[in-house]
Amino acid sequence: MAGGTWIMRASLRGERRKAVHVVLDGIDELHEFQADTLTRIGAMTTHARIAQLTEPALAALARAAATSAFPAVRNVATLGGNLRATPFPEADLVPALLASEARVELAGRRGALTTGIEEFLAAPRPAEELVVSAVIPAPARRISGYQRLTVRGGGEYPVASVALSADVRDDGLVEAARVAIGSVESTARLCLEAGRTLVGRPLTADTAEAAGRVAAQECTPREDAGAPGWYRAAVLPELLRRIGASIAGGATQA
């Protein structure tokens, strides 16, 4: 158990809490925090701390952390918890980690293991496996942003969320881009086609919106009481437009 904010709400989800929990707080490795060209964020790092990251390449992750839930929850909820809470389609950090090409360092019975975030998300994880940290590349000329849509504003779970990370050449054109969406399907995912549409083009509100239209085609949105599926897909172009507008407007963070 990290911050416990997910586990403590088990009964609200109709789940039964496990009989035994082990507090991970005393393990130093899980608290590591290094910001460099490779940023390593320990699993016990809180959303409040992640929100303070300032590198443009990590702006999506910082924004996802800063806009997730509420201050008193962000002070406690961790990166590792956000990755291990399942099923949790609305987890804010996950799409940001996907767009940022994060790798996940794990520890299990067979020792240490590092895996790409996509692979990590692809299948249920062994119960005894620990998330140790996320390792995120932060190369120069990488910019990123994150937007989430809530029905009421404030810290509700998002109806849809989008993370965009792009590598921009000196001439201002996009060399590579990754679009990831959260809360739309049962697990956050990359929209590869949407990212490709940005390659060779400048990153603007319009090009980002166009990528959002592709993302809306690419996904299979889920239906629940929070929002109908068509709506989750329909808002993606606008969310990407907001990211594009913010980046084009000079901000490194959207």
């Binding site: 158990m1 911050g3 416990g4 904010t5 586990i7 403590m8 709400r9 609200l12 809490r17 929990h21 507090v23 707080d25 409040a48 839930a69 509420f70 201050p71 008193a72 929850v73 002070n75 406690v76 404030g154 810290g155 509700e156």
Partner: protein, 155 residues
């Protein structure tokens, strides 16, 4: 298991299962009923207390995590027979307290904020209060009280 921590500066111990919410222990074992159970899911802020200098939702905070920590609740802001805390005074002066259910949580959020940022902007204050729901609703008066307090004391 036994947990030992400080509540408003006083060392306390409790025999617990470990996963009881801190809120439950504060209210039912120690009689500190300022923090309240509202939503039970970390969005209303009625249960806000300060642990290790940070505001947390005590309804979602397993008591085991409080071991060795310093917990502060609204009861610790002013002595029973002493003057109120300046933030409490400011809220009263601005008519920011109506039914009062949210106020213990609001006070702890504001206390932690002002310890971190001496003169927060209106935007920062509002952002920090997004997790403290007031249904009366006195948000404007609460924000004005903080702005008034922080600009007055700095001059």
């Amino acid at each position: 298991m036994r947990v030992a921590f400080r509540v408003n500066g006083v060392p306390v111990e409790a025999d617990v299962g470990g996963m009881e919410p801190l809120l439950e222990i504060l209210r039912d074992r120690f009689g500190l009923t300022g923090a309240k159970l509202g939503c039970g899911e970390g969005r209303c802020g009625a249960c806000s207390v300060i642990v290790d200098g940070r505001t947390i939702a005590s309804c979602l905070y397993p008591i085991v995590l409080a071991d060795n920590q310093a917990v502060r609740t609204v009861e610790g802001l002013a002595a029973a027979d002493g003057p109120l805390d300046p933030i409490q005074d400011a809220l009263l002066e601005h008519g920011a307290v109506q039914c009062g259910a949210c106020i213990p949580g609001v006070l702890m959020t504001l206390t932690a904020l002002l310890e971190r940022v001496a003169q927060p902007t209106e935007e920062v204050i509002r952002q920090e209060l997004t997790g403290n729901i007031c249904r009366c609703t006195g948000y404007h008066a609460i924000v004005d009280a903080v702005l008034d307090l922080t600009t007055t004391t700095s001059e």
